[in-house]
Amino acid sequence: MCARSSGFFVNWFLIIYIIGKLNLLLKHMNKKQKITFAIALIIIVVAFIIWIINGSYIFTQTQILIEKKDLLFGTTYKEWQNKFIWGLDLTIIVSIVSILSSLILFLIFRDKRKTQNEINS
């Protein structure tokens, strides 16, 4: 019980800490960086929503088993049907690609004036 409640507090502490850091980061971002951040966040959220809607499978599947009725014997049998099921593996890949590309864009969209000031000082 004690371990569970301490875990609960650690989780909430982490969430508040991350939100605080993000807030601080947002304050120092320029408009282009904010747009990049928003797009990356939307892509990750959409990827996870698609994953949940598709049944929260761990692996992406290209075939699923469907049931068919055998009218002669009155039984059911299964057959493979081509169907794309978005899995957690693909969700993670999309998220990582999204984070990496947004980080690159973050560097590209850096506030150049600040860099010039730093050079002058």
């Binding site: 761990i58 992406t60 088993l65 055998d70 014997f73 299964k78 493979w80």
Partner: protein, 212 residues
């Protein structure tokens, strides 16, 4: 009085176990059914469910034979069903490859998975051409043979226009569902019990013909 009741019970038990039990169909005598189907209709499935993952697998490459006397299935049923371990598919190519590797079913070393009927323990007639048969048999997987009980539903269809559309000859439909424990067949893996269940549900749905 008690001894009379005992005798009656003994006679009844003897009758139940010895009196032939089988199908009430046109066909008579001993029959041999081939379970090989090139159209891919015959199948064996497996299902594993854990809190983390659910795996379904299927093979249609089943072969085997069933022999019995139509009127006395209980005392004459013999047969074996087998499938190539290599033929099992789960819908994900990478997982299919893993499944056949030494850490799982080791398809190269143990290419065949089979079930051989040893004896019929119970038989029940559902319809004149349909029986539920409780059998015990040897299940061979991953180089290990274990005796397991299986309840099988068997449907006998005399040759007709409807059956000829499927296959020539009388047709026999066999369905069965049973479970096995992978660890009892020396399938040991780190993720056993986590992503793959130790208890695997197996389903069999096959059709055989006596003209082959």
């Amino acid at each position: 009085m008690k001894s009379i009741v005992r005798i009656i019970l003994l006679v009844l038990t003897f009758c139940i176990t010895v009196i032939p039990q089988g199908f009430d169909v046109k066909a008579k005598g001993g029959q041999t059914f081939s379970l090989k189907d090139d159209k891919g209709r015959n199948q064996a499935t497996f299902h594993s469910i854990t809190p983390f993952d659910e795996v379904d697998g299927l093979t249609t490459e089943i072969s085997g034979q069933l022999k019995f006397d139509v009127n006395d299935v209980k005392n004459t049923l013999k047969g074996e069903i087998s499938l190539p371990t290599e033929s099992l598919k789960t819908g994900i190519k990478m997982r299919d490859k893993d499944l056949k590797e030494p850490k799982w079913l080791d398809a190269e070393k143990y290419p065949i998975t089979s079930f051989k009927i040893k004896k019929v323990t119970e038989i029940k007639k559902i319809a004149p051409n349909k029986l539920t048969v409780k059998v015990t048999g040897d299940f061979y997987l991953h180089g290990v043979t274990k005796e397991i009980p299986v309840e099988v539903t068997v449907t006998y269809l005399d040759e007709s226009a409807a059956t000829q559309a499927r296959e020539p000859g009388d047709l026999l439909g066999v369905t069965a569902n049973f479970s096995i424990t992978l660890s009892k067949f020396n399938v040991q893996n780190m993720i056993l019990g986590k992503r793959v269940s130790d208890n695997i549900d197996i389903g069999v749905n096959i059709i055989g013909t006596n003209k082959f």
